[in-house]
């Protein structure tokens, strides 16, 4: 609330004080109301009341001042206070109401000036001085009304999106449950596999694969090596394995993996995919666990390697083999080792006959 009063210019001080008192009372009432129930302030009685008081302050203000005391261009009782009523109307009823209220309050000010004895000639200084606030009031009312409407719309959009998300979550949960149940309860392996595939698809969708990667495709990754890219590539490799060999792949990925160079991520995913193929083809594995975490403790320090290292293992519960008898594990070494060493990584192969195989990768 801004009140500028020069006592020397007042011809009817009692009126001026009365208006100030009225404005004060209204302000106090509104403030109390705001604390109790903010929504009430935007109800018609409150808004109209505020506008009426605003107009009254402007119009009657014209009587309080000495005639011709430069009323139009300088003094009026209250400047900010009446504007507040315009803004309230704008928030409550929208841009058009805001604009019209602005014009109304602006006109009230003109009315006050007329009562004060200001002559309204169109080319006069006073007319311009009176018109300017009118336009400003109107613009302020219209703009705020528009903004308030936008805000309200955005707010309701967000609420609607949240509600949809909640429903989607519940739905997905139900679908995942059902698929899991089908998978477990059916005797038909084809149906089980179908359910599993659908489950993986839905999971992949829920996890939100990054743009530019598609499950099952040859992984043209155009991302910048975010961990999500690696995840979706590994997920794809796992799904391919499950489709081909009917086993099961568990992906255990740390959620704080560093960003990898896209070439490194591709090499890693390719190597994992090769290791999986070996587990299925030669190991007859039922269950494979792919584990990836930031490479801290087991890091084989190598000079000249860039940041963003991970350790990855592919462990199966298959037949395994005797490393002494089978030189470097049936071609596994070339396909896996080749990819990893090309990007400066290291490979270790641990196998025992009858106790599965583990491929360890550092990149």
């Amino acid at each position: 609330m801004v009140l500028v009063v020069d006592r020397h210019l007042l011809v009817r001080p009692w009126l001026a004080y009365g208006l100030v008192a009225l404005a004060l009372v209204v302000t106090v009432v509104l403030t109390v109301e705001l604390r109790a129930d903010a929504a009430k302030l935007l109800q018609p009685p409150a808004v109209v009341g505020e506008l009426v008081v605003a107009c009254a302050v402007f119009v009657l203000g014209g009587l309080a001042y000495e005639s011709g005391g430069g009323f139009a261009s300088s003094q009026s009782l209250g400047v900010a206070w009446p504007v507040a009523s315009v803004l309230t109307a704008a928030v409550a009823w929208g841009p058009l109401a805001g604009l019209l209220s602005g014009v109304l309050v602006g006109l009230a000010r003109v009315g006050g000036a007329v009562l004060n004895g200001v002559a309204l000639a169109f080319d006069s200084h006073d007319a311009v001085a009176l018109l300017t606030p009118l336009v400003i009031f109107a613009i302020a009312g219209g703009t705020l009304g528009y903004l308030a409407r936008l805000l309200r719309r955005a707010e309701s959009d967000v609420a609607a999106a949240k509600a949809r998300e909640e429903v989607a979550r519940t739905l997905h949960d139900g679908v995942l449950q059902t698929l899991a149940l089908v998978e477990r309860r059916t005797d038909d392996p084809d149906l089980a596999r179908l359910a599993r595939e659908q489950e993986l698809d839905l999971r992949a969708f829920l996890a939100g694969p990054p743009a530019g990667t598609r499950r099952g495709a040859a992984q043209p990754v155009n991302g910048r090596g975010a961990p999500g890219d690696l995840l979706s590539q590994l997920r794809s490799a796992g799904a391919t394995y499950e489709r081909a060999y009917g086993g099961r792949v568990d992906l255990v990925l740390a959620d704080d993996l560093p960003a990898l160079d896209p070439a490194v991520a591709r090499a890693l995913a390719g190597a994992v995919s090769e290791a999986l193929t070996n587990a299925g083809k030669h190991g007859g594995a039922d269950r494979v666990t792919v584990f990836v975490e930031p490479d801290g403790h087991e890091r084989p320090r190598r000079p000249g390697r860039r940041a963003g290292h991970v350790f990855c293992s592919v462990k199966d519960d298959g037949r395994g083999f005797d490393p002494a008898a089978v030189a470097e594990g049936m071609g596994l070494s070339r396909s896996v080792r080749g990819r990893i060493e090309e990007v400066g990584g290291r490979v270790e192969l641990v196998a025992r006959e009858g106790a599965g195989t583990e491929v360890r990768l550092w990149v």
Partner: protein
């Protein structure tokens, strides 16, 4: 040990029926619950050996059941999705482990038998989550009791898909010792979460 008395808590009746059928003769399902309140009431009334509880349930989810009952019985969480943070909360609050709902029936049965016998059900995915949590804790604050090198080793091997037996063979320790390590790790997780809560409360002036 005799038959394991178990309570099934899940808001999907069809799922409860499915699990009930899978469990077989080693288990006696003494009650089924569709929400948190029912589950808690059942546990207080029946005193089961084991609760198999869905992570997402009306009334606060599995976490609420764990908070209310973990002192009285062993609780295994069942979830449809892996690697969720609220899962970690449930385990930190005292759940003995969790299983993914797509776990094949035989495996489910074996895991629940072990859980009924007091062993933690520590799947690779959960081990991975816990590993990550300790990494996060060691980064964020110095005074958290971290894992010993051996514990980290065990935890990582679990996350990599090794069975307790395999881990024991690799580290030249008994399976029982591996199990103890896992229990200690869970204990530390529990403690660190509690400390974190206390620290948070102190920092924010909550009495």
């Amino acid at each position: 040990m005799g038959v394991i008395r178990v309570v099934l808590a899940d808001d999907h009746p069809i799922w409860r029926t499915g699990v009930r059928t899978d469990l077989g003769d080693d288990f006696d399902v003494v009650g089924e619950a569709g929400d948190v309140d029912e589950a808690v009431a059942l546990v207080k009334a029946e005193r089961p050996d084991l609760v198999v509880c869905d992570l997402h349930m009306p009334g606060g989810g599995g976490l609420a059941v764990v908070r209310a009952c973990s002192g009285e019985t062993r609780i295994v969480m069942l979830t449809v999705s892996e690697a969720e943070r609220d899962l970690l909360d449930a385990v930190a609050a005292g759940a003995v482990g969790y299983l993914v709902k797509s776990t094949p029936p035989d495996e489910l049965r074996v895991a629940l038998l072990r859980a009924g016998g007091g062993e933690p059900v520590f799947s690779p995915a959960l081990a991975g989550l816990v590993l990550g949590e300790f990494r996060r804790l060691s980064r964020s604050s110095g005074d958290v009791q971290g894992l010993t090198e051996r514990e980290r080793e065990v935890l990582q091997l679990v996350a990599r898909g090794h069975t307790y037996k395999e881990i024991g063979e690799q580290l030249f320790i008994s399976e029982k010792t591996v199990e103890n390590h896992v229990r200690n790790i869970l204990g530390k997780l529990h403690l660190s979460r509690k400390n974190e809560l206390i620290r948070y409360a102190l920092e924010h002036g909550i009495e």
